[in-house]
């Protein structure tokens, strides 16, 4: 089922790195660093401007891989990787898309687990790659069964 979508990509989506969204995000984590929220302190820092916290790309819209559906509830996050080519700046625009890179089945404690790997990309307006990430999710047999019954 999901295997058929390996190599398929979404169409890049325009994302604004918004100051208010960054503030809400760091407040939720509790990582309220002036470099993320205080324009004055950020301007006087080596960064010279406000930056977004490392895990902020979680908030971006990566578009939808046509036809690909996953369970709305119950997918477990197994692993996550980020690579940043430079900091992400507040106020900039990033074009983000994702690609399904791998689907595998593995025997687990409660039966056959499906391991899904999606890779995300963020590029500047000039086409410069700013970050890439890879998310590994686990679908338990129970969640997969619920998903198949709904479909």
């Amino acid at each position: 089922m999901w295997e058929n979508f390996i190599g398929k990509k979404s169409v890049p989506v325009k994302n604004d790195v918004e100051k208010g969204a960054v503030r809400k995000f760091v407040e939720a984590i509790g990582d309220i660093n002036p470099i993320y929220v205080s324009e004055e302190e950020a301007t006087n820092s080596p960064h010279g401007q406000l930056i977004a916290p490392p895990t902020f790309p979680r908030t971006f819209d990566y578009g939808k891989i046509p036809g690909l559906e996953f369970p709305k509830a119950g997918m477990i996050h197994g692993e996550q990787y980020y690579h940043y080519y430079r900091p992400i700046y507040v106020g900039e625009v990033l074009y983000c898309h994702e690609e399904l890179v791998d689907v595998q089945e593995k025997e687990g404690k409660s039966g056959k687990m499906t391991i899904v790997k999606l890779r995300q990309f963020g590029e500047s307006v000039d086409g410069e790659r700013v970050f890439l990430s890879e998310r590994t999710s686990i679908v338990t047999p129970k969640v997969k069964e619920m998903f198949l019954n709904e479909a």
Binding site: A21, A28, G30, D31, S45, P46, T55, K142, M146
Partner: protein, 133 residues
Amino acid sequence: MKLDFFEFKTDPITKIQLVKYAGASGDFNPIHVIEEEAKATGLPSVIAHGMLTMGFMAQLFSEAIENGAYLRNLSTRFTSKVFVGDQLLLRAEKVDKEGKGTYGYSITVHNQKNELVAKGSANLAFVESTINI
């Protein structure tokens, strides 16, 4: 600023924090906020977003980031579930001797029962305008 070792302990995780994180991140997977839906998928109760734990991992480097650093890599494996009420102890230990202006770290995250809930690695670099640290 010392760069060899970073450590901090979170406050106990609350339901309201999970609701806030869901809103701020856009991750509305109901297993993080709705008890019945978490139970329906076989979980004992709601669990924290893995990305919240990863956000705490990034927070380890907050002071360095404020002083001109940024992460080149941040990578994690979530090894055990994090529940409401859990208090996490995060540690990052420098593993590289002298990189080319970068610093490598191994990271561990334990809960209050000393169970490993996540482990990972990070690579820290400084932006060019950083003259001395």
